[in-house]
């Protein structure tokens, strides 16, 4: 009997305590962010979307090889001889390659960040853009290549021609050297043709 009344009084008391707490929270500042209107700063090491500074890229394929889900697709063409490709982010002279294709498919990406670490020029990194929802899945494939497809075709053909010319040159040199020095440098020439 005594417990019964104690239960009732403690029940009523705890209800009052709870109501006091909720009444207090009625006037505390709410923590809601009005998302589309106001956006919070993303944290330093958050992984949202990959970005490539293609000017810095040296076409080493390390990120491609590191990717566990193969969502990075790279294609490179050697630059024209003597072509000025502009400056890098660090105001150095751009080297060697143009990129008809440097695609990162964010739909496939598993956000592991393994591609970021091996990059020797630190040109692939996370940016804090997290709003990249799309209606079409193919729109999630981000293109970072710096050459248009038409230009790329021309460059492929040029590179092909250049290669043929170079092969011819090498063949010429080989025959010439074979004529002058018959025995010793034969191994060298074999290596170069390989």
């Amino acid at each position: 009997m005594r417990e019964y009344f104690i239960d009732i009084f403690s029940g009523v008391g705890s209800v009052l305590v709870g109501m006091k707490v909720t009444f207090g929270h009625l006037f505390t500042r709410s923590v809601t962010e009005q998302y589309p209107r106001e956006k919070i700063e993303m944290f330093d090491r958050s992984r949202n979307r990959l970005h490539v500074d293609i000017e810095d890229c040296i076409g080493c394929y390390l990120c491609d090889k590191a990717c566990p889900v193969d969502c990075i697709h790279i294609d490179t063409i050697k630059a024209r001889p003597g072509e000025d490709l502009g400056l890098t982010e660090k105001f150095e002279k751009k080297k060697t390659f143009v990129f008809p294709k440097f695609d990162i498919d964010m739909a496939e990406c598993c956000y592991c960040g393994l591609c970021v670490f091996p990059c020797p020029t630190e040109c692939i990194y996370w940016i804090s853009d997290y709003e990249f929802a799309e209606y079409d899945r193919s729109n999630l494939n981000y293109h970072f290549g710096n050459v248009t497809p038409e230009d790329a075709r021309v460059r492929y053909e040029e590179a092909e021609k250049l290669k043929i010319e170079k092969d011819k040159e090498i063949a010429l040199k080989k025959t010439a050297s074979a004529a002058t020095k018959p025995a010793a440098p034969k191994d060298d020439s074999k290596e170069s043709t390989d």
């Binding site: 209800v15 109501m19 707490v21 909720t22 009444f23 929270h25 709410s30 809601t32």
Partner: protein, 352 residues
Amino acid sequence: MDYFIQIVTDLLPGLDGLPVWLVIPSIMFMFGALIFTGISIYSLIILWFERKIAAHMQDRLGPMEVGGWHGWLQTVADAVKLLLKEDIIPAVADRKLFKLAPYIVFLAAFSVFAVLPFSDKIVGSELNIGIFYILAVSSIGVVGILMAGWASNNKWALFGSMRSVAQLVSYEIPIGLSILVVVMSVGSLSMRDIVMAQDGGIFNWMIWQNAPFNFIAFLILFIAGTAETNRVPFDIPEAESELVAGFHVEYSGMRFSIFFLAEYANMLAVGIIASTLFLGGWQGITGASSAPGIGLIWMLLKGFLIVLVMIWFRWTLPRLRVDQLMYVCWKVLVPISFINMVGAGIWIGLSS
């Protein structure tokens, strides 16, 4: 009602030519439509309030977009959405009962308003058994709930309706007993007499009379009224985590909104009944005012206040278990209200 008839006949002088049997029912119909509109608008407002209060109690903001200022049009948009939604009847449901049930539930909630005194003159009907009529009519809703649960042919709906009915039938007893305390001290069942007995300012209100007994009766009425309207912490008929939504799981669109409206109408009814019985009805803090609109404003204010406390309850307390619910009713509220009634009777007998 007489006052309303007088207003309408003043406004529409052409009515005098028509026969009485046509005029009186049509004016009654107009009064009903007016109350229906009032209940609908009130539900929209109180629903917005509930969502905002719930949000702020949980340190959120709640609806903020629709309508500009703090989402004040959100519930209107929701109501429009509900009306436009597809009305689905399950294939194996009992179609006739399924269609009939929401109307019976709403009928019970709505016919309570016929005797609620909104002010000195705005009353549907001044029955001299007013409060007893309210008790009787609100028990019809139980049948509608049982009908809904059965007709849905869904085990959760059936469980929900069973629980709901068990709860409503049980909690009617403490409500009746705590109403009896007031009826004993006034000596009448009529709502008008009860309000008139509390004339003359805040200290003559029923809640302060008969030493502790009326106050305890008020608390019991409030707790049991919360249970009657299936509100948290007594919402096991609709317990989301166990029963999805209780007896109205299978209802959608318009029929669901009728259930919803009935729940909020019941809340307002409980608020108005409690404030009529204990808080002086349409009389203000300093006593009754002669202006016609003031009484209505006081009444709605008191009703709203009680509804707001019910909302506060809801967002504070966790849900009771089934057996705890029955424990609270049969082992706590019923004995206390019995003792309270006997004590009040002795007090009234001694003091008179």
